[in-house]
Symmetry: C2
Amino acid sequence: MTATYRDIKSDILGKITRGEWTPGSLIPGELELAETYGSARATVNRAMRELAEEGIIERKRKSGSRVRLTPLRQARFDIPVIRREIEEQGRAYRYALVRSEVVEAPEWLRARLALQPGSQVRHLVCLHLADGTPWQHEDRWINLALLPQALAADFSASGPTEWLMSQIPFSAVEISISATAADAALAAHLDCAAGEPLLMTERSTRWNDQMVTYVRLVHRPGHRMTTRY
Amino acid sequence: MTATYRDIKSDILGKITRGEWTPGSLIPGELELAETYGSARATVNRAMRELAEEGIIERKRKSGSRVRLTPLRQARFDIPVIRREIEEQGRAYRYALVRSEVVEAPEWLRARLALQPGSQVRHLVCLHLADGTPWQHEDRWINLALLPQALAADFSASGPTEWLMSQIPFSAVEISISATAADAALAAHLDCAAGEPLLMTERSTRWNDQMVTYVRLVHRPGHRMTTRY
DNA sequence: CCTGCCTTTTTGTCTGGACTTGAAAATCAT
DNA sequence: ATGATTTTCAAGTCCAGACAAAAAGGCAGG
């Protein structure tokens, strides 16, 4: 008989989707809702809080909660560890190191990572394959000033992503997704025609307010990122 | 003096990022944490629950909570209402209807929306512009069996997205992002060269377990979706 | 009319206690 | 041993009551 916070949540969501409570309209206060559902205010609060987090409603002290006029839609994509992503499809994962060098950071990278002129970076190019066919091309730059261990690390057997996760497991990240055309090198590595449109993910990772690494991941032709909610 | 759930959360997160609690290791139980922080178990619970939601830790009844070995990373992108997105940049939004027709659903659409053969759909092609330059190309298909109102609706002044939101504000959606090459028509509309790589967002919207609409949004050349966390 | 202060309303958070649930572990029966 | 059953433990949820904090609205003084 007693309503759980889930019950309350889905009941309220139902009222909204059925159009009983229209966008912009005021929802009864927590106290009132607690009474109608026969539960404690804390329970109603949790239901409402989660609805607010999901972008369904908007809450403000004193003014109360109202149904959002423009439902704030947000898509959540899981960023998989590539080895996992491939192995979960029942395919064989293979990794190949294409190039490894230590260089002075080029201009564009310095701007992006806010590096001093003359900074040394480790530059790696690798390929991730599923059942032998190219899956993802990784172009990785690591700030050696912050991660001098990267100088000695060996990336011939496993990728820098996994190594980095062991070094700085939790950090602030900026992710950006765009479309790019395959140049000659990419086309060769990803086994596609030059000029082919490819999905690209760029990630800048920060640690203690300093940029640690920048990576440009180019996915195989036809790759799509999908989510539902 | 008393610790809030935020304090607890950031303290625990600190212990993890500083490496005091390493990936895979067991975190003290809620009761123990409540004692060390001098707070109620419910407060600790909230802190831990949120950390779990954010993919930092993993919780299991009986076994306890542990730091995730592979931090589950997830990117959250806001799906903006395009008019807003443009106006918030201080640019003038303009909408143009390129094509509007009522047709029998083509094969590929029937498969995607699970439609009966012979189903009628409203097909719209529109363009969203910022300061007069093309911003996004919208190719929209609406299931008339579910939304007969779409037959009479007038889309010459404002886009179908806004109209749809007023009709079915909250619904289940599948979003998918990929890269595509501009064909002749797209190139003309988006004012770019044919073959140019473009970011494409596809959305299928469901309501009461029936597919209502499918839309293919192609962004202007160079567009990027960005998020940080 | 405007400005700053106070009151009131509503959400936000916390407490300390309780019961529920899921799953691992231990026990028991075959 | 092996499979079924019970125990036990940690997280999950709930409650009733309390205080905190933001913000809208009203009031008073200039």
